[in-house]
Symmetry: C2
Subunit: 111 residues, 2 copies
């Protein structure tokens, strides 16, 4: 991983929720798809990912259930809830605001 995680911090939940809007999914797969989408530039640390799931479930943004795999490792699937969708929408709006703000603040005027 090459990009400072502090820049992603604060987007962990949004990234997970976004992924779950595309359908129920489980941790390992979510992480793999992020890795793929970023061309290997980013992926969650497992501890980060699983603590995020706990946090989101406790907040009521997602719910979970065990898959019924007949073979291979068991999978815990996550599904986004209605309030999870609401929260996602807000987070996206926040991101657009923040993005503009940061751009305004970190580029120098005189140089």
């Amino acid at each position: 991983m090459s990009i400072a995680s502090d820049l992603i911090r604060g987007h962990t939940d949004t990234i997970i929720l976004a992924k779950l809007i595309g359908g129920d999914n489980y941790g390992y797969e979510i992480n793999k798809s992020i890795q793929q989408k970023t061309g290997g530039k980013y992926e969650f640390k497992e501890a980060t990912l699983y603590t995020a799931f706990r946090r989101l479930e406790q907040a009521g943004y997602i719910s979970s259930y065990w898959g019924d795999e007949q073979t291979g490792a068991r999978r815990r699937y996550y599904r986004i809830t209605d309030i999870g969708r609401d929260s996602y929408g807000e987070l996206i709006r926040d991101w657009h605001t923040a993005k503009e703000m940061i751009d305004k603040l970190i580029e120098t005027e005189d140089m």
Copy 2:
């Protein structure tokens, strides 16, 4: 303040360095200018600001000196160093990369 600080976290140092590229400055002024530039939407908490100064100075990115105010409260001015400038350039590049990445990760494909 209306925007979640977790979204700004990770940019604190960059914002300060950017400001100092425009010339030496002191904490209170820097914060006021941020407040103004964002139309009141953002400003650092004092504790955050001053710990950031300590951090940046310890890292050698900035240096500080006391102003010679004849009247009013004393001011500690900060100046960006050469390696501070280098670091700033890198941080800006990181931001552009991260911005693209986040955009890619938080927008849903199928909705």
